[in-house]
Amino acid sequence: MNIIHLATEDGRNARVPLLRPRRLTPATVKVTATGEEVTTKAVHRGNRHLDPASIDPQSLIDADPEIDLDNVGRILTDTTRAYRRPGSHALEGNFQVIVTTYAADGTVKERKPYVPREANINDVSPVRLGKHIPLVELFQRFVFHNQLYIAHHDGLQHEFLFEVARSLEAAEAAETLGAGPRGNLPLVLQHGGAPTRAFLIGSTEGERYSLRVLLTRQELKVPAAAAAVSAPD
């Protein structure tokens, strides 16, 4: 459970729980014909230069590749990610992680050392409600890949959140959520998380309320060159 430090335009604020809603479709697992659960395992393929999907007899004759008999078929568990110089057998430590930013056309825009972002939803500066945007416009402009909902710990928080939900419902609008001292920064939900834009929508029923934080990292628009695709076989 996360906590969000939420503030309204009139200066009221509270630290309230931010929770993940339940999926409405049942969770599934893969099983064998006898009902045993299936798991995905890493298996050594025998030769890293051979792709079983595209192998053909002539290429086998021409290349005469060897099978790694010591490892072929070995199931690898509890593995660790490590790094080495190309062609070397020694593993390296004390390395630097670099983040390369590419533009939409594939050109490199920036390279800089990776610094994980700190979460900013439960900071000294609260997450502020900002601009109103009508609901229809909201869903015609943005794609919401995830959502969370706000709950309360006590009766005072319930009153505060109920009022927020009721005002949003009356306005038939969503409000932007912004972090940082000026309330204009995207939200970072956890340490090392990606910045994401967020909107708050609300509804009420009797004395109950629903406040949902819709998270978006994408506008609803087509890139410059959208290729057509045919139906699957």
């Binding site: 393929r45 690898l76 110089r85 004390n94 890949h145 709950a151 309320y209 629903s210 890139p223 290729a227």
Partner: protein, 190 residues
């Protein structure tokens, strides 16, 4: 794909799904030391080092035998049959309120062309034959149309007492007026 909208059939022509990086680019992490890019390897507990290209990922049972045609079942044990792709059968398209889209965790954005009036519509969608169909919302505006597919989530309503029930340990609901607790209760401060 073809959908049934009221009495008429509507043809929806889909294009490739839109990924974020096509709109905004992307970020990739790499590892360097002294200016030299390092390659990633997989280290097993015995100290063996493998390149990722030496490994493949296979579905196996607990004994490590290959599971060639795994079936899908719910966590309650109900086996799910494969449902046909939306490109092979006609499914129903119905007008939807904004709430359907507000409760959708979108995983694909597909630009489409279709002959329906602007608004929100809902249907079920599967690209390939699949054990579970996705919820899809057809979002038609004057400028274009998109099929948004994803997983519906609940929109819980919070009553005054709901959260106490949700967060509290069930043990805390027990009656605290028992004999054992009386010794701890003092009124000295009064």
């Amino acid at each position: 794909m073809v959908v049934q909208y009221g009495a008429r059939e509507v043809v929806i022509t889909t294009a490739a799904a839109i990924h974020r990086e096509k709109l905004y680019g992307k970020q990739c992490r790499s590892v360097v030391k002294d200016g030299t890019p390092l390659e990633q390897v997989v280290l097993d507990p015995e100290g063996n080092v493998f390149l990722p290209s030496e490994l493949t990922y296979l579905a196996t049972d607990s004994a490590g035998s290959l599971a060639t045609s795994p079936l899908t079942q719910t966590e309650e044990g109900e086996l799910l049959d494969l449902k046909p792709s939306s490109y092979r059968v006609t499914r129903e398209l119905t007008p939807a309120g904004i709430e359907v889209l507000a409760c959708l965790r979108v995983d694909a954005v597909i630009p489409v062309k279709c002959e329906v009036t602007p608004g929100f519509y809902t249907t079920e969608y599967a690209y390939h034959d699949a054990p579970q169909l996705k919820t899809a919302v057809l979002n038609v505006t004057a400028d274009g149309a998109f099929l948004l597919t994803g997983t519906p989530v609940e929109a819980p309503l919070q009553g005054k007492n709901d959260v106490y029930n949700f967060f509290d340990d069930p043990e805390s609901d027990r009656d605290d007026s028992g004999e054992d607790d009386l010794d701890d209760l003092t009124f000295d401060m009064f």
